[in-house]
């Protein structure tokens, strides 16, 4: 029996999972502090194009290395954007949901503009891309699977996030303000700034997830509105389905990525295609439904905190 399709499914699935997985770890940190970042689409799409722009700008100077400038630019943009978002909601007390929606709408507009500049009409990028870490061959005939550094990051991140939240001072403060901000405040923790920090750190990872869509070597993505919106909102769901636990969130991200790869890999005809296109969404809903029975979200999630 030919198992090529299984290998392909794994390879494509993992690729699909990268932007989801990176963004989900970022969103996880943010949500642990009690901030629900609905603006996650904007948080990925805008940095994605910041990455592309930096890549283009540094191309003449750095050559192939310019892609890495893209990654840095994406993380900086993501952090900056989320900083503003968190500042608005914690200091100026703008509703989190409203601010998040605002960022998404802004992103939809700006995406269209950048898309024209960065991609040729037939959908190939003008800039450089991040080189693969290494490649795997020999699994199947003519099949060469390249592993992106960003994919490695996806696997490494949950451990780092776990240690960050569990072992560092800031991590402890983040968990405290997300669970009982009043208690944290009474203990001398500055609730607003901890939340801003958690959101900005989360933004860096959202940015990295976004950059995968534009400057990674994988050309599967043309980060138009439809392509970028999928990983963003699926990441939001992965955080919930993963029960706010880094390892589970990674597992769910991969599950979603693999589901998404079913259609291209099985090369189903367009008649059944619709079913497979909607499959990721159906799986999401089912996973959420099962998970929601025993979920324990941060108690203060999405609740604004205001001092008396």
């Amino acid at each position: 029996m030919d198992l090529t399709w299984l290998i392909l499914l794994a390879a494509f699935g993992l690729e699909n999972a990268v932007p989801i997985g990176l963004a989900a770890q970022g969103e996880l940190i943010t949500e642990k502090s009690g901030i629900l970042n609905i603006g996650i689409y904007g948080g990925m799409a805008i940095p994605a194009f910041a990455a592309a722009a930096a890549d283009l700008a540094f191309g003449p100077v750095l050559g192939g290395g310019s892609a890495y400038m893209g990654l840095l630019a994406a993380m900086a943009t993501g952090a900056g954007l989320n900083f503003v978002f968190a500042y608005l909601s914690t200091k100026i007390h703008i509703d989190q949901v409203i601010a998040g929606i605002g960022i998404n709408i802004f992103a939809v507009g700006i995406t269209a503009v950048f898309l024209q500049r960065y991609y040729t009409v037939d959908g190939t990028p003008n800039g450089n891309t991040v080189a693969p870490l290494f490649s795997i061959t020999g699994l199947a005939q003519n099949l060469r699977i390249s592993i992106s550094p960003l994919m490695a990051a996806m696997f490494l991140l949950p451990i780092l996030v776990y240690l960050f939240l569990g072992r560092t001072k800031l991590g402890l403060h983040i968990r405290a303000v997300g669970e009982n901000p009043k208690a944290a405040e009474a203990a001398g923790v500055d609730v607003a700034w901890v939340r801003i920090a958690a959101t900005a750190i989360g933004g860096m990872l959202l940015g990295l997830g976004g950059a995968y869509l534009t400057v990674d070597f994988n050309p599967n993505f043309v980060p138009d509105y439809a392509q970028a919106i999928f990983p963003a909102f699926i990441a939001l769901a992965a955080v919930i389905a993963g029960g706010w636990k880094p390892g589970y969130v990674l597992a769910v991200s991969i599950l979603f990525g693999v589901t998404e790869a079913l259609r291209p890999v099985l090369a189903v005809s367009s008649a059944q295609g619709y079913l497979f296109t909607t499959l990721p969404y159906i799986v999401t809903v089912i996973v959420l439904g099962i998970a929601s029975k025993r979920l324990r979200p941060p108690a203060a999630l999405a609740l604004p905190y205001k001092k008396e």
Partner: protein
Amino acid sequence: MNETMLRMAGIRKTFPGVVALDGVDLTVGQGEVMGILGENGAGKSTLMNILYGLYTMDAGTIEMQGKKVHIRNSADAIGLGLGMVHQAFTLVPNLTVMENIILGSEPSRAGVVDRGRARAQVLALVKQVGLDIDLDTMAEDLPTGFKQRVEILKALHRGAKVLILDEPTAVLTPIEAEELFKSVRRLTQGGSTVIFITHKLKEVMAITNRITIMRRGKVVTTLDTKDANFDVLANAMVGRQVQRKFNFGPYKPGELLLQVEGLRAASKHKTEALDGLSFSVNAGEIVGVAGVEGNGQTELVECIMGLMKPTGGAIRLGTKLINKLPTSEVLKLSVGHVPEDRALNGLILDFSVAENVVLGATESTDFSRRGVMAPRKIRDFARKIVKLFNVSAAGIDVKARNLSGGNQQKIIVGRELAGQPHLLIAHQPTRGLDVASTEYIQSLLVDSRNAGRGVLLVSADFDEILDLSDRILVLYEGKIIGELNRGAGIGELGRLLGGIAAK
């Protein structure tokens, strides 16, 4: 008085519609225990919240050791050596005891928490004040008395020299309270200063050096504890004589109201919480359930009220088996319930006073018709309760959250008693209430009994149990290990509990 540690002068604070503090002066000497007494809503917690930087004052000055200080937030207060244990605990539920204690003052290296050093520090503190506790338990799994220990250790870990305890004993059993007093004495011997808020005059007499009495946002008087006695304090607090005698009619138990047979239930932690419990409550009597908290009281009440499923046995109201009935059905059988944790089960803190007063009573045709509420009637009723129970609130439209702890309690008790239920399950009905309100609510329980209704009184306050109960059931590890009749003394009750503890 010793050298002055803390001086607050002319403190003023208003909330929309209320003057909570109206020019309050408070002076506390180094190394002393200052008691603050005052009826519900007098402004005690507000004053302490200002000192601790949680509220900003409208006017006034604060000096510590003769120097004027500006406290803008609790970080400032902590920096000045102030520590506070709140009336409502402020632990982070999903952090461990140790994480809660070190939160905000973690020993760390390059941003990474130094767990070894943290543990050593905390263990040293535990030893110093004699408050034993397991450091790796999640805060949410702790019984109330232990949560408080965590709070105290937390304040001390921050180097508190002045420790504010806001009604620390309201949630403690007499035995736990005794332990707390020991720790307080140890602390003051070590040079710490303690501000102690309570409604229990006995405690004030036992633990404090000086007492400040507040009423309606003002200081009435400050006196040395040695010059004080019950009547002086009660009068100053309430502005009138408080009597502690109830008019019990003759004891004539009537029809059987509640019968519990071989009741079993599992606790949240899957251990046996109720272990084959049997008793009954008749019309015309108050049956008290005494015991150290955590011996099944919570589960017993929750089983009766349909909030928890028993694993065995039978609960009957009259002759009707109610084991499997949902709470809403139990309530319809003329059962009233004053829950133990007012913030959790008694009130919806973000609803107004008026809305809270009719919670659970909206089924009544008095307040709604075909699902549409009758606002005018609800408001009239709310006003009546507020007046009858002397609730101090800016109005019936303020959120329950903004009421003082004691006033929140009055709303629940008022609401439950207003329906004149045949059977009232009163769990800690006077927790956090001032002397006058305690007396009032207790007298209402006695009135219910005299009028031929039944009361199941579950309380950790042994005086309350002894004063009110016709029969006392002593609960220990989910079993009733003894029964006493009216007239038993605290000695007898203590011996019963003590004998068990010794086993």
